[in-house]
């Protein structure tokens, strides 16, 4: 009985998809309310007790499940039914490669807190993103509606353009860490590097200040431009505002999910919010060090606690610390995305396209060149 994969799948489905995605709808409501100086939704109650509006996600689920499922008249019924699934399933299975913790040794068993530790993990995310584009395109086409078709066409062009840029922006990080496996990438960020180390290496300058002014070896400090570009590209890939042209509420009514009601719309809605978690988890793993605590590496944690309680308990405590750090970073990135959503106006469609092809693509290629040049200098 393979207990470990089943436990991981249950964790992903129950905790992440069913637990945290509705929580993020609540975060969106409350954060937008705080940013806009209002109270937000707080009236859903259970026997008269409202808990700051935390029951609204549950109320949403009940509402969406009990609504009538309307399929428009001339629509292609099979594709109309399949499109929410094609949009939602890639978002959920993208959790398979996100490392929630490192690799821990318990005597002779190894615990690896990843669903599937595949060697080309980052490429898997890009492949999943390519397939997820079909949900939007088919939803737009199969609804037999002009506005949906416009939304679907815009979505397809936007998503396939930003896939290219998304791949290129990560090449810089790939060159620095020399691995595509997300676990190894997080482990490589488990140290710290000296900011003024180049003075020591090339000019022979020495001093305590060179040795002790250190930054954690995170991707964002090695590739700041790559971080900004990757965040832009993956937010555009997920059709997240300010890139939500395909579902532009004020222009094409609701774009590709106009003719969807009830739980099918709920699936689209949920896939966008699961995409938010995926964006946050990916950015946290690649650029913010994942489950790594800054300045306190795994060996240090275990060495600190094991004299008191033994190595096994120390490793367990280390797992707890790492997992909570990862969740903290994920929630920080979710907060950043919500901030961007509620402060920036929507891009116009030609601005979205020119941002991709005229600005991000040359910048990412220049980033690759500069990174390669510096790596050639540093590593000989």
């Amino acid at each position: 009985m393979p207990i470990e994969p089943i436990a991981k799948i249950l964790f992903i489905v129950v905790v992440m998809v069913v637990g945290i995605a509705p929580l993020i709808t609540w975060i969106e409501r409350k954060q937008s309310a705080v940013m806009q100086d209002r109270i937000g939704a707080n009236r859903a109650d259970l026997a008269g007790i409202t808990i700051l509006g935390l029951l609204h996600p549950a109320a949403d689920v009940i509402k969406l499940m009990t609504k009538e499922d309307v399929v428009p008249d001339g629509a292609n019924r099979v594709l109309h039914l399949l499109s929410p699934l094609i949009a939602a399933v890639p978002a959920i299975i993208a959790f398979a490669i996100i490392p929630f913790g490192g690799v821990y040794q318990f005597g002779d068993t190894t615990l690896n807190l990843v669903g599937a530790d595949i060697d080309w993990g980052l490429l898997y995310i890009f492949a999943i993103g390519s397939i997820a584009a079909y949900g939007t395109i088919l939803a737009g086409w199969s609804s037999n509606n002009n506005w949906s078709m416009l939304g679907g066409l815009r979505a397809s062009a936007q998503m396939i353009s930003y896939e290219v840029v998304m791949g290129l922006t990560v090449v810089g990080v790939f060159m620095v860490f020399e691995t595509l496996r997300l676990t190894d990438m997080a482990i490589a960020q488990d140290t710290s590097f000296r900011i003024f180390g180049f003075l020591n290496l090339y000019f022979g300058v020495d001093g305590w200040w060179i040795e002790h002014i250190r930054l954690p070896a995170w991707g964002i400090f090695y590739q700041p431009l790559g971080f900004l570009m990757f965040l832009t590209a993956i937010m555009a890939e997920n059709k997240r505002p300010p890139f939500d042209i395909p579902e532009g509420e004020s222009e094409i009514i609701a774009g590709y999910h106009l003719e969807y009601s009830g739980m099918r719309f709920g699936l689209f809605f949920m896939s966008e919010f699961i995409g938010i978690i995926i964006i946050a988890a990916l950015t946290a793993t690649i650029f913010l060090g994942g489950w790594v605590v800054p300045y306190w590496s795994t060996a240090d944690i275990i060495d600190l606690i094991s004299p008191f309680m033994g190595v096994g308990f120390a490793t367990g405590f280390c797992i707890l610390i790492h997992f909570s750090t990862f969740l903290l970073k994920v929630f920080f990135m979710i907060w950043v995305q919500m901030l961007l959503r509620w402060s920036l106006p929507r891009f116009r469609y030609d601005q979205v396209m020119s941002l991709c092809w005229k600005i991000l693509l040359p910048l990412s290629i220049a980033n690759i060149f500069v990174t390669g040049f510096i790596l050639l200098l540093v590593k000989g």
């Binding site: 292609n76 099979v78 594709l79 060697d119 080309w120 490429l123 898997y124 890009f126 492949a127 993103g129 390519s130 397939i131 584009a133 079909y134 395109i137 088919l138 737009g140 086409w141 199969s142 078709m149 679907g152 066409l153 397809s156 062009a157 396939i160 896939e163 791949g167 595509l180």
Partner: protein, 170 residues
Amino acid sequence: MTVETILFYVFGTLAVVSALGMVLNIRNTVASAMNLVVTMVSLAAIYLLLEAYLVAVIQIMVYGGAIVVLFLFVVMLLNLSTDEFPPGKQRVVKLAVAIACVAILTQVVIALDRDPLLAAQPGAVPEGFGGYRQVGLSLYTDYVLLVEMASLLLLAAIVGALILAKRKID
């Protein structure tokens, strides 16, 4: 009867069924394109079983994620989805061509079964076979000329597609 063997036959059957669905589907071009996507993704799964990992991912990203999206884009833009052409004049000839192709196919499959060299089971492969490191190293050391020629070919295709799609050349 390992899991890999069963998976190969499952994905092989899926590929053949969706390829047939793509070719024989008369009414709906978008359904044909979606069947093509299913074929390509099942072929990518078979590549994974054959330990060609980078090729499988590139197959999904390029074929399934860009080429068929391009097909769908053109179909949606030109609204070509439900064209039904009147029956052609040469139906019997087409049926004969199809039967001839299937006959040649059966000959090929029977000939494959008799060749002892091809009946070999695949042996073990070293670690990292088909991974991105080996393919990348090989591409940029042994086959770097191929990469350059491929880039020239893509440039020519981009220019050609742009000119063909413009309404008037000014």
